[in-house]
Subunit: 223 residues, 2 copies
DNA sequence: CGGTGTGAAGTTCTTCACAGCC
DNA sequence: GGCTGTGAAGAACTTCACACCG
């Protein structure tokens, strides 16, 4: 009575999901260090920049290889390259945005994706009056084109920017089209099959978890 | 050799932070159920909507009280009220946005905060040419006014929307001014004292953790 | 019955501590 | 001496399973 392997069909060495979640942070700090001209870094120094224990960093990295040198630390340039490779960041990824309201348009013209290798190559909207509109480098297409576009344009990532009530249906559609990675901006808790990854971007949830602590602090000291 | 209590100065019954992180999700689904006219819900039903086990929901709720009725479940309306109270969502919270570039302006006019009780009541920018500009209901003020505004306008939350290089200095300033809750949109790993909470909103990190799995899937089945 | 609340068991994740190497 | 890599120990979190209740 023990089904433990996450992520479905068990590949092999079982790397904890939390570890994967931390790798992009390491990549980011290492990139920053590299830009500062720093060539070698120890797990202690890295940990200080990230508020993470050195042991955790060493353990995390050990899942993927032996990247350091005893007595010295890690070569920044080498490590950042290896981690990018592990994460699949050594190539570009195409994404489609669904929903071109205020939020969707902001996402399409967000300048932070492209330099990181994420390209928004298509946009969709259910509203016929939006279809055909040119936004940045993409033309808005009708939802019916979704399946075709995903196949033709090698789209691996769906970005959901529709109002909450439409979010689950849109997500279902993306899943039907074979999408396995979804960045969801709608304030909902999406339901997806086990082999589909979802990351939710939801500032309100962030705020709501902080108010708990604010409230506690205030209660503790009078007003 | 054992410093374990999180959140600094140890209040009492030690509620795990992960539990706090899930509560807003419960609130959201419960609100939705209420709007659908559903009056009672079991931990199993709630769990299905959230992809969480019923046991976890019952355990999480048990940290805060006994809200259910055996054989029946939870009264939706009552539970949502209790959870909102626990999270401090039974009042409004004032926030200040720092940085009024493209992103900052989008945050100021984002319609999702206000109905949830989060009010953006002030905006700041270091660029003198932005100061004085009217954005939605707030007027952009210079950074020097930060301390005064936080005190006068009872601001508890700082929202950081400046470019990455300025983020840490701005966060330091907010902390100096006594802010204990920060919603950070800049792609950095902020360093803050233990009694300050930060939540990062960072779509690129979300994408970068999904590419790992995409890559794995592709490798597993040829191309 | 059906479903909660909860100690106890089980699992996952983090930290320790030290051998080994530069 | 300084720092990595890693089994082992420890802490945190999740799930089980059942007494108890409506």
């Amino acid at each position: 009575m023990k089904i433990s392997n996450p992520s479905g069909s068990g590949s092999g060495s079982a790397i904890p999901e939390v570890v994967i979640l931390r790798l992009p942070l390491y990549v980011r700090i290492l990139t920053q260090l590299r830009d500062e001209g720093i060539e070698v870094v120890s797990s202690r120094e890295l940990g200080e920049r990230l508020s993470v224990t050195p042991a955790q960093i060493r353990k995390d990295l050990s899942y993927f290889g032996r990247f350091g040198k005893q007595g010295r630390g890690y070569n920044v340039n080498y490590l950042v390259g290896e981690l990018r490779r592990v994460l699949g960041l050594d190539r570009d990824w195409n994404a489609a945005v669904v929903g071109v309201g205020r939020l969707g348009r902001a996402i399409i013209s967000y300048p932070g994706f492209s330099p990181e290798g994420f390209k928004v190559v298509a946009a969709f909207d259910a509203d016929p009056s939006q279809v055909g509109r040119q936004l940045d480098v993409v033309t808005v297409r009708p939802m019916e084109d979704l399946a075709k576009a995903i196949a033709e344009q090698k789209i691996d990532i769906g970005i959901v920017a529709v109002p909450a009530p439409q979010a689950q249906p849109v997500i279902n559609k993306l899943v039907e089209c074979g999408i396995k990675a979804i960045l969801n901006y709608a304030p909902v808790a999406p339901q997806v099959p086990g082999d589909v990854r979802v990351r939710n971007i939801d500032p309100v949830l962030g705020l709501q978890t902080m108010t708990y602590h604010l409230k506690m602090m205030k209660e503790r000291k009078g007003k």
